[in-house]
C-alpha cells in the first residue's frame, strides 16, 4: 500500500520558475484528460487582516470577482462559464485562492482573466456596497440563521488562542464589514496582492514550454510591488485549561468541541504527521477509537469527528493550529461524561500506543482519500499550490501518501501524549431554543 504514493509523485512531475515581478509559477502537467486547472494563491488570509477589519480578507475575495481593468462586472463568470469551465475562490486562515477548471483549449483565457485582476481589480464604491450586502447574506446563511453555525470554527479559536490573528472572527462582524471603505480595499490590494506575494499553479492538460510563454505574455507585464514579510502567527503553548459555554437558540441538541494545540505544521513536520494520523485513528469510520467508544459502545454520542486544521485540511495551515474533537450528544448525556470518555481514549493511545495493523488500516484509508482528491485535476492543482505557498514545496502534495505511509506507531503514540487534557480548550454548546 506504499507504492501508490510514489507512483503519484512520478506521474505528476512539477516544473517551477519565477517571473521578474516575483510571481512564483508551478506547472503540473498531466495530459490524461483534456482538462486544465488554473489557480492563483495570494499569501494573505483571515489571520493577516488588521484589527478593526475583521472579515476583510474574505470581503476582498468577493471584490476580486467584480471585474477588472479590461473585464466588466459579471464578465469574469461569463468568460469562464461560456468556455465550459467552472470557477470559485475561497478565503482560508493563511491564504486566499482563486481558481478555474476548464476545457484545455480555454487555458489562455483563464490566464488573461487572472492576470487582469492581479493587475487592477474594479474596486468601486458601488461594488463594495453590493458585496458587503452579499457577504452579510452569506454569514446569515452559514452562521446566524442556522443551528451550530459558528460551532466550533468561529467560537473555539477565541478560547484556544491569545493573539488577535488567531482569535478573531474571520467571517467578520457586521460593524467592521459595514464600515469598510474603498480606501481600505485599495490599501489591502496594494499591500497583499503584489505578484511577489502570489503563487500561480496550473495543472492538467498543458504543454510546459507553450504555457510558460503564455504566462510570460499575460503575467509578465503586471508591475512588481514590494512584498511585506509575513508576520508569524505562532504563539506560546497553552499552560492551562480554557473553557467556555455558548448558547445556541436554534440547536435541538448540545455539542462539545475540544481543541488541543499541535506541533508546528511546517517546522515540526514529522511530529505533525503523527498528529494527522492520530486524528484518523480517533475518528475515521466505524473502526475508529471514538466512533466505537462514544457512538457504539457507550452510546453517548450522536456523531463525532476529529480533524487537524481549522477547516479540516491539515496541510494548508501554518502555526498555530489545533486538533479538534467535535461531538454531538443527546441532551440526556452530561457533557462531562462525554469529555471524560474522549480523554480516556486519548490516554489509552498515549499509554498503550496503536498496533501496526490498526495503523496500517488507517494509512490505507488515508491513501485512498488522498488518491481520490488527486483524481480531480482541480483537486490536485489546489494541493500543489497550497503546498508551494505554505510549505515552499509543491512536490510535497504528491509525496503525502508516501510520507503518511511511513509514520510509525510510536509517532502516533507520541502525538497522543501531546493532547494533554490539562491544556485543552473546551467549548460547550448548550441548545437553548429547541424542543427539549
Amino acid at each position: 500500500m506504499t507504492t501508490a504514493g510514489a507512483e503519484l509523485t512520478l506521474r505528476h512531475p512539477v516544473e517551477r520558475f519565477t517571473l521578474d515581478n516575483g510571481l512564483r509559477v508551478v506547472l503540473a502537467p498531466d495530459r490524461s484528460v483534456p482538462v486544465v486547472a488554473v489557480s492563483v494563491f495570494y499569501d494573505v488570509g483571515m489571520r493577516n487582516e488588521p484589527e478593526g477589519r475583521t472579515g476583510f480578507a474574505h470581503l476582498f475575495e468577493h471584490m476580486m470577482f467584480q471585474g477588472s481593468a479590461n473585464v466588466p462586472k459579471m464578465e469574469h463568470a461569463r468568460l469562464v462559464q461560456a468556455a465550459g469551465g467552472t470557477f470559485n475562490g475561497s478565503t482560508h486562515q493563511d491564504y486566499t485562492n482563486y481558481f478555474e477548471a476548464l476545457p484545455a483549449e480555454a487555458l489562455e483565457r483563464a490566464l488573461f482573466l487572472e492576470a487582469d485582476r492581479m493587475a487592477a481589480p474594479a474596486i468601486t464604491e458601488e461594488n463594495l456596497r453590493n458585496q458587503i450586502d452579499v457577504v452579510k447574506e452569506e454569514i446569515r446563511v452559514n452562521v446566524l440563521n442556522r443551528p451550530y453555525g459558528a460551532f466550533p470554527w468561529l467560537q473555539l479559536p477565541q478560547i484556544a488562542f491569545d493573539s488577535f490573528a488567531n482569535t478573531h472572527d474571520g467571517y467578520g462582524s457586521f460593524v467592521d464589514l459595514e464600515s469598510s471603505t474603498v480606501d481600505d480595499a485599495t490599501d489591502f490590494f496594494s499591500r497583499y496582492y503584489a505578484p511577489g506575494n502570489a503563487v500561480l499553479c496550473i495543472g492538467g492538460d498543458l504543454d510546459v514550454a507553450e504555457t510558460e510563454r503564455l504566462i510570460q505574455r499575460w503575467f509578465g507585464p503586471v508591475a512588481a510591488r514590494p512584498v511585506q514579510p509575513i508576520p508569524a502567527t505562532g504563539e506560546p503553548l497553552p499552560t492551562e485549561v480554557r473553557t467556555a459555554v455558548v448558547e445556541d437558540a436554534l440547536a435541538p441538541a448540545p455539542a462539545l468541541a475540544i481543541g488541543w494545540r499541535v506541533p508546528d505544521p511546517i517546522g515540526d513536520f514529522d511530529s505533525y504527521l503523527g498528529t494527522v494520523l492520530l486524528a484518523e485513528v480517533l475518528s475515521e469510520g466505524d473502526a475508529s477509537r471514538l466512533e466505537r467508544r462514544l457512538v457504539h459502545d457507550d452510546r453517548i454520542a450522536i456523531a463525532q469527528s476529529s480533524y487537524v486544521g481549522l477547516f479540516g485540511d491539515p496541510f494548508d495551515v501554518r502555526d498555530a493550529t489545533l486538533l479538534t474533537t467535535q461531538v454531538h450528544h443527546p441532551a440526556a448525556v452530561p457533557v462531562d461524561r462525554v469529555r471524560a470518555a474522549v480523554n480516556e481514549e486519548i490516554l489509552r493511545v498515549a499509554t498503550d500506543g496503536v498496533g501496526a495493523d490498526e495503523l496500517g488500516r488507517v494509512q490505507a484509508r488515508t491513501e485512498a482519500q488522498l488518491l481520490r482528491q488527486a483524481d480531480s485535476v482541480l483537486g490536485r492543482t489546489l494541493g500543489f499550490a497550497a503546498a508551494e505557498l505554505v510549505h515552499g514545496r509543491a512536490e510535497l502534495a504528491g509525496e503525502l501518501a508516501a510520507r503518511l505511509a511511513a509514520v510509525t506507531p510510536d509517532q502516533v503514540r507520541d502525538a497522543a501524549r501531546g493532547l494533554d487534557p490539562d491544556t485543552a480548550a473546551v467549548l460547550e454548546l448548550r441548545a437553548t431554543g429547541g424542543r427539549r
Partner: protein
C-alpha cells in the same frame, strides 16, 4: 475598468480536444443484477456503486417505509453471520474503503472507493451484507436512537424545513411528499422490522452495480458474478407510483419567528431524462438561474445584494422530475426578492433569450459534464444514476448532441410551460410577522407553524 467587454482583448478559445468516451461493459447476472464495468486508467482506485430500487409501495406505507429505510441504511453495517460490526469496518478500512449507505425516496445506494487489491474482499463483504445482515436487536436500538436525534438536528436546519415543506405541498399524499420520517415511526423500528424489510426489498432483480477503475471488464464481471451469486432472493423491484403535481395557488409561509433570513423555494414539474423537451429545459434553467452567469444571480445578488447563493436546478426522481428555484434572502427584502424572481421567470417565458446566453449555457453544460465525469468517482455516480433510471451509458452522448441542436425558440417554448411562475408551487420559510404582509401584496398568503418549533 470598462462598462462593456472588448472581445478583441480576450484570447480566443483553441480547438476543443476530444473528450474520452467511457466504455461501459454491461452484463445481467442470472440473479437479475445488472453489472456495468467501466475500464478507465488514472489513479489506482476502484469506485463502486450498488443501487437497489427502494420506493414505498403506497402513499399510506411511505411514512413507515421511510423510517425503516433511514435506520436500515446504518444498521446493515451492524453485523453479518461472519463479521461483527468492528470486523466489517476493519475489513473495509484495510482496503482503503468506507461503505456509505443511503436512502432516498427511490433507492438504497451502497457506495465506496477502494484500493485496487480490495475488489475481491470488498465484494465478498458486500455479498455478506446483502444476504446475511443480522440486524442484532441491541445495536439496532442504538442506531435507531441516533437516527432519531440526527433527524431532529436536520429538522432544525432552515434549508431542510423549506425542502420538506415544498415537497409536502407539491406532492400531497404521494410518497415523495415525505422527505424525513416522523420521530414516532423511527422509534418504532426494531430488528424484526429491518430483517423483514431487507428480505422483501433488498433484491438483485432491478438493482445495478457500477464499477469504475483500471479494470479488465471480463475478468471483473466474473469476479462479481461469483462473489454475488449467493444474492439470489427473488421478487420484483418496487418503483414509485407516478407523482402528480398538486400545484396549490398562492404562497405558503412556514413561520420561523425571529428568522433573519427567508428561505424562498419554488418548484414544479420538469421533463424526464427521455423527454425530448429536457435539453431545452436544462438550457433555460441555466440561463435563468442555473449558474453564476445567469439572470437571477445578476439581478438579486450582483445588482441588489439580496442574497448570497440564488440558484435554480433540474432534478430527476424516478416518478417525476422537477424544476426548482432557491434563494435565501434577508428578511426585510423577502417581498422584493420574490418579485424579482417572478419577473425573471416571466421574462424567460415571454421574451427570447439571446444567442450569446444560449451559447454560453450550452458550452457550460457540456464542459461541466466533461469535468464531472473526468474522475472515477464522478463517472461512477453519473452512470449509476443513469443505469438506475433504466438508461444506457450512451444516453450521455445522445444528450450532448441534443443540447447542441436546441434553438432560442425552443428555449422560449419550454420556458413558457415549465418556468412560468404559474406552474410553480411557492413556499417561504421565515418570520411571518415581518414577511406575510408584504408578500400578501403579490399573492394570497397562508401561514403554517414550523412543526418543530410548535
Amino acid at each position: 475598468m470598462t462598462a462593456t467587454l472588448d472581445y478583441s482583448l480576450v484570447p480566443p478559445l483553441g480547438e476543443p480536444r476530444p473528450q474520452p468516451v467511457p466504455e461501459a461493459h454491461e452484463t445481467t447476472l442470472p440473479n437479475g443484477l445488472r453489472v456495468v464495468v467501466v475500464p478507465r486508467p488514472g489513479v489506482p482506485l476502484i469506485e463502486l456503486r450498488l443501487r437497489v430500487p427502494f420506493a414505498a409501495r403506497t402513499a399510506l406505507a411511505a411514512g413507515e417505509h421511510t423510517a425503516r429505510g433511514a435506520v436500515l441504511s446504518g444498521a446493515v453495517l451492524l453485523g453479518t453471520g461472519a463479521h461483527d460490526q468492528a470486523g466489517i469496518a476493519e475489513l473495509l478500512q484495510s482496503h482503503g474503503a468506507e461503505l456509505s449507505i443511503s436512502t432516498d425516496p427511490d433507492r438504497l445506494l451502497f457506495a465506496t472507493t477502494m484500493l485496487p487489491g480490495g475488489l475481491g474482499p470488498v465484494l465478498g463483504l458486500l455479498a455478506e451484507l446483502l444476504t446475511d445482515a443480522t440486524y442484532p436487536d441491541g445495536p439496532v436500538e442504538g442506531e435507531r436512537d441516533r437516527v432519531a436525534e440526527r433527524i431532529a438536528i436536520a429538522r432544525s436546519q432552515p434549508g431542510v424545513i423549506a425542502r420538506t415543506a415544498l415537497a409536502a405541498r407539491r406532492y400531497g399524499d404521494h410518497p415523495y411528499a415525505i422527505q424525513l420520517p416522523d420521530d414516532h415511526l423511527v422509534m418504532a423500528v426494531d430488528g424484526d422490522a429491518l430483517r423483514h424489510l431487507h428480505r422483501e426489498r433488498v433484491l438483485p432483480a432491478g438493482s445495478s452495480l457500477v464499477l469504475v477503475g483500471d479494470l479488465d471488464p471480463r475478468a471483473v464481471t466474473d469476479v462479481v458474478a461469483s462473489a454475488l451469486a449467493p444474492w439470489s432472493a427473488t421478487g420484483h423491484a418496487v418503483e414509485a407510483p407516478p407523482a402528480p403535481e398538486v400545484r396549490p395557488p398562492g404562497i405558503d409561509i412556514v413561520d420561523r419567528p425571529g428568522a433573519v433570513q427567508s428561505n424562498l423555494r419554488l418548484g414544479g414539474p420538469a421533463p424526464g431524462r427521455t423527454d425530448p423537451a429536457l435539453p431545452a429545459v436544462r438550457l433555460a434553467n441555466m440561463i435563468f438561474g442555473g449558474y453564476f452567469s445567469s439572470r437571477l444571480v445578476e439581478n438579486i445578488r450582483e445588482r441588489r445584494g439580496y442574497t448570497y447563493s440564488p440558484r435554480s436546478s433540474v432534478d430527476h426522481q424516478a416518478a417525476g422530475s422537477s424544476f426548482l428555484v432557491e434563494a435565501d434572502v434577508a428578511t426585510e427584502v423577502t417581498g422584493p426578492a420574490l418579485l424579482e424572481t417572478w419577473y425573471e421567470l416571466g421574462r424567460m417565458a415571454l421574451t427570447p433569450v439571446t444567442d450569446a446566453e444560449l451559447d454560453g449555457a450550452r458550452r457550460y453544460i457540456l464542459g461541466s459534464m466533461a469535468l464531472s465525469t473526468a474522475t472515477h468517482a464522478g463517472l461512477a455516480s453519473t452512470l449509476s444514476a443513469l443505469i438506475g433510471a433504466g438508461l444506457p451509458a450512451e444516453w450521455l452522448a445522445e444528450h450532448q448532441r441534443a443540447l447542441a441542436a436546441v434553438t432560442v425558440e425552443e428555449v422560449q417554448d419550454v420556458s413558457r410551460r415549465y418556468l412560468a411562475a404559474e406552474a410553480l408551487t411557492a413556499v417561504i420559510v421565515g418570520d411571518a410577522a415581518r414577511i406575510a404582509e408584504p408578500l400578501g401584496a403579490l399573492a394570497p398568503v397562508s401561514v403554517a407553524e414550523d412543526q418543530e418549533t410548535a
